[in-house]
Symmetry: C2
């Protein structure tokens, strides 16, 4: 099927709600058959998810963070990451978030891919990175409303348990898929 | 670190916006140190993503769908899936969405995991399934505003290209990670 049978023509949009972290827009678009319809979409800043790998005497481990998530109202064990500052380079943002949340600074940081976290309703992107040659720098640098426990988890444990609690954040499984693709 | 140093105490919430597909709530919660703060979260129905595998003379293929995404405003090549009907069993919903979007009915359908698509801001879950023994049933059964092209893609092509256009939907990489976990 040719793309012009699939592509919608985006028309105007209007902001209907704004919070600290995202905006909600109603966006009108015209279908491939020419019918107009309104869709509600969310605009938010891009953010990074970093897969940090350390070699220990016990084998290869991921540096992960355990934290409360306000959408799901539960604890989740995740790769570190966070939202870009305005104008910030994606690799710089990834390294900064890694260091703030875990106190590990990367010697090497490499892009694994850039994807849409939920393109049906969200306009932003999540940027995945692999961080290596980690150096422990001392203390976390957390915001007042961040409570983050740092844990080193064997890579094989994460591969085996992704998708089961506490590995419940689907975008961490995305990061794992890109890590496996890079390693293969 | 003990969990009580990480867990927030959820207080009241108020709906601030509602669309056809999601609601936006402002939810107050009290931090592990006892400070109260308001977070904006999105409540939406659960949905399924189905990884449909077919064996062809050319090897193992995924049945995928190419469609326009209104959040990212681009075409995306994805595993089929969709939102549950109220009260619908998750495997029934997955098989129904597969058949509606692709005209393939599964002989076998098996849960791969249930995750939070974005637990920082979303309260719902995405349920991943593996569909096998597919039987082509004739025609798609699409809504008026659905324009979906069905494509059979070799498994190895998807493994190699996930994360690059048109494989840009991050939750499809999550599905791939759970597929690889199941296969390993």
């Amino acid at each position: 099927m040719s793309d012009d049978k699939l592509v919608w023509n985006v028309q105007d949009s209007a902001e209907v709600y704004r919070s600290r972290v995202f905006r909600v827009l109603e966006r009108r678009a015209s279908s491939p058959r020419g019918n107009s319809k309104t869709f509600t979409v969310i605009e938010a800043p891009d953010w990074a998810i970093v897969v940090p790998v350390v070699n220990t005497p016990g084998g290869e481990h991921f540096v992960m963070v355990r934290q409360w998530r306000h959408g799901s109202r539960e604890l989740s064990l995740e790769f570190p990451g966070g939202v870009f500052e305005p104008g910030e380079d994606s690799a710089v943002a990834a390294a900064r978030e890694l260091q703030e949340e875990t106190a590990y600074a990367p010697g090497k940081i490499r892009a694994l891919g850039k994807m849409s976290p939920n393109p049906a309703i969200m306009g932003n992107h999540v940027h995945f990175f692999l961080a290596e040659d980690l150096r422990h720098t001392g203390n976390q640098d957390l915001d007042d409303d961040e409570f983050v426990a740092v844990e080193l988890i064997p890579v094989e444990t994460v591969l085996r348990n992704m998708g089961k609690p506490p590995y419940v954040h689907a975008l961490m499984a995305s990061a794992l898929a890109l890590y496996l693709q890079e390693r293969s």
